[in-house]
């Protein structure tokens, strides 16, 4: 430890990192969380980057309701296990086609749980306890088909409850509206379950549409949802093809193209269209800007909310 004179005051370190630096922290077999909610706010630089780097055997913790970003990780062969109460795209895809296919073919294991169990598990991780109890689910198939969930008698009243194990996350990837250079992250809207994912993770990297000044963050500190991400990634249009609240809506045409490709694999066992999608939009682009150019600026700027 060293001291300094007032003339050479120590300076605070910026936490803005390159996406590749963040991705390099991920190793085969880790538990990685992907934030957002169905068709919004997924950290797509991270998702595409993990695929491009060929990471394997991940346990992927999706959002409470996950979208097709998880489907894509499955399609590309990165995920061995998925922790998600739902994988789909609502009207764009009632069930994730690659999710459905990979599970039916035994290529991916599902940690079966509902949204309340999901948050009970995330909270246990954040609280550093091995489990949290939950009532709903007693009488259902969940403890049968997910042996990690145990039925037990509560030590206070002897009631029958489920014990939901802690869902510890090695690294969380999130996408938000803004951050200052020091990792104080703010959303437009409430950020879905991202806060709960952040609290359950040992490390977190947050993509943002824009880096803003610390003074801007301090104008409304109550809005700071994540008080210190480990790394901030500059990522304009970084949730594309999903929406980024306050910035752009989802790109339905792009999502439908993906669904079509993944459905060909599911229905006709034809990986061709999915391979072509991956080549064009995931492994092919040199970087995020190259990806956006392949999507096309005209398309991107047509995604205004109003």
């Amino acid at each position: 430890m060293t001291t300094s004179t007032e003339n050479a005051r120590p300076e605070r370190s910026k936490r803005i990192v390159d996406i590749e630096h963040a991705l390099a922290q991920v190793h085969d077999g880790m538990t990685v969380a992907i934030g957002g909610f169905i068709n919004s706010s997924h950290p797509m630089l991270a998702v595409r980057g993990l695929i491009k780097r060929g990471v394997k055997n991940l346990t992927v913790v999706g959002a409470a309701s996950s979208g097709l970003e998880i489907d894509l990780l499955i399609a590309a062969g990165c995920a061995r296990r998925v922790v998600a109460p739902y994988v789909g795209g609502e009207v764009l895809a009632p069930i994730g086609p690659a999710f459905r296919t990979a599970v039916e073919r035994g290529k991916v294991e599902v940690f079966e749980l509902d949204e309340a169990m999901y948050y009970a598990g995330l909270r246990a991780a954040a609280q550093r306890v091995p489990f949290n109890p939950w009532r709903s689910g007693v009488g259902t198939s969940f403890p049968e088909i997910n042996p990690a969930i145990k039925t037990f008698q509560d030590p206070i009243n002897g009631e029958t409850l489920l014990a939901i194990p802690a869902l510890n996350i090695d690294i969380a990837f999130l996408h938000a509206a803004v951050s200052d250079p020091y990792g104080n992250v703010q959303y437009v809207g409430h950020g879905y379950g991202d806060r709960a994912i952040y609290a359950a993770a040992d490390a977190s990297f947050v993509q943002v549409e824009q880096v803003v000044s610390n003074e801007e963050i301090r104008k409304d500190p109550l809005r700071t949802a994540i008080p210190g991400a480990d790394g901030i990634i500059r990522a304009r249009f970084g949730a594309h093809p999903y929406s980024s609240p306050g910035y752009y809506t989802e790109d339905q045409a792009h999502i439908r193209d993906y669904v079509k490709a993944a459905t060909a694999w599911a229905k006709a066992d034809d990986f061709g269209p999915l391979g072509a999608y991956l080549d064009r939009f995931v492994t092919g682009p040199a970087d995020h800007v190259d990806y956006l150019e392949r999507v096309g600026l005209r398309r991107l700027l047509a995604l205004d909310e109003y």
Binding site: F37, I38, N39, S40, S41, A64, S65, A84, P85, Y86, V87, G88, E90, V91, L92, I95, G96, F99, R100, V103, E104, G106, V110, E112, L113, D114, E115, A116, M117, Y118, Y119, L122, R123, R135, S136, G137, V138, G139, T140, S141, F142, E144, I145, E159, T160, L161, G189, H190, Y192, G193, R195, A196, Y242, S243, P245, G246, T249, E250, E305, Y306
Partner: protein
């Protein structure tokens, strides 16, 4: 298209759900669930000004909106513009006291005679599913913690109405009996109605077996029985489902469902 005065089956379904709702109740308007959405809004606009209506995870103030725009996706940020408050998603799913005033609407891949239902998948062996479903979302919990729930499906056939669900992701009345839920420590509300394009079912008080309550106009009792994969209780008199009043139909078509999701 239907005549100006005649309600479609989906408008009738929405009206059935609306009429079960009382002022002051708490309800979620899911995206891409046009029938429950319309039912909730109909009740809210006509007799439930103090209902709490959740849209896109916000507490929405739409009571005086001339036209309530429909959003396709639950993540559509534009649907948050009526917000008085946001529900953090984990609070929404974990803070359960407010759900004592809540009413929930659930879909299903399979439903059995006791209102147990399945969103997980189809197949005898969980490790080798014939059809993998989307997952239970928040349905397992919401069907326990709300005061009651309704099963709402877009089709009425023997693939959905089965003697036994391959998996149960939302507990109904178990293997029957009015104490089926409280025996397990679950609040006793449970499933009230099952609403389909053909009919409305409820559950007989003692056995909690599913019972035909009413058939929609133009639907025969036999048609319902032929499309149900288990023995439905049928009362001596089966009513025809009440259709929306002229006032209700007007509000549905001019304020709630202007784009006609329920009319196509």
């Amino acid at each position: 298209m239907q005549s100006e005065l005649q309600a479609t089956n989906r408008e009738i379904m929405a009206t059935v759900l609306a009429r079960d709702l009382a002022d002051g109740e708490w309800v979620e308007v899911g995206a891409n669930l046009p029938v429950p959405r319309a039912g909730v809004l109909l009740a809210h606009l006509l007799w439930g000004p103090n209902m709490t209506v959740m849209i896109a995870m916000t507490k929405a103030n739409v009571l005086n909106e001339p036209v309530i725009e429909e959003f396709q996706l639950i993540t559509d940020q534009r649907a948050t513009r009526w917000a008085e408050a946001y529900y953090l998603h984990d609070d929404l799913v974990e803070n359960m006291k407010f759900r004592r005033k809540g009413v929930f609407f659930a879909g299903a891949l399979q439903i059995d005679r006791y209102g147990n239902s399945n969103l997980i998948g189809i197949g005898a062996d969980y490790r080798a599913l014939k059809f993998r479903g989307p997952g239970a979302i928040g349905v397992c919990n919401a069907t326990v913690m709300n005061s009651r729930f309704h099963l709402v499906v877009n089709a009425h056939d023997k693939r959905i109405f089965v003697p036994k669900c391959d998996f149960v992701s939302a507990y109904g009345w178990g293997s029957g009996g009015k104490d089926a839920r409280t025996r397990l420590g679950l609040p006793g509300g449970g499933p009230r109605y099952v609403v389909t394009p053909l009919a409305v079912m409820d559950f007989e008080d003692e056995s909690k077996r599913m019972r035909l309550k009413s058939v929609h106009p133009g639907v025969s009792v036999q048609q319902v029985l032929d499309n149900t994969g288990f023995e439905l209780l049928v009362p001596a008199q089966v009513a025809v489902t009440e259709t929306p009043s002229a006032d209700e139909l007007r509000v549905l078509r001019t304020r709630i469902d202007v784009q006609g999701a329920l009319r196509n």
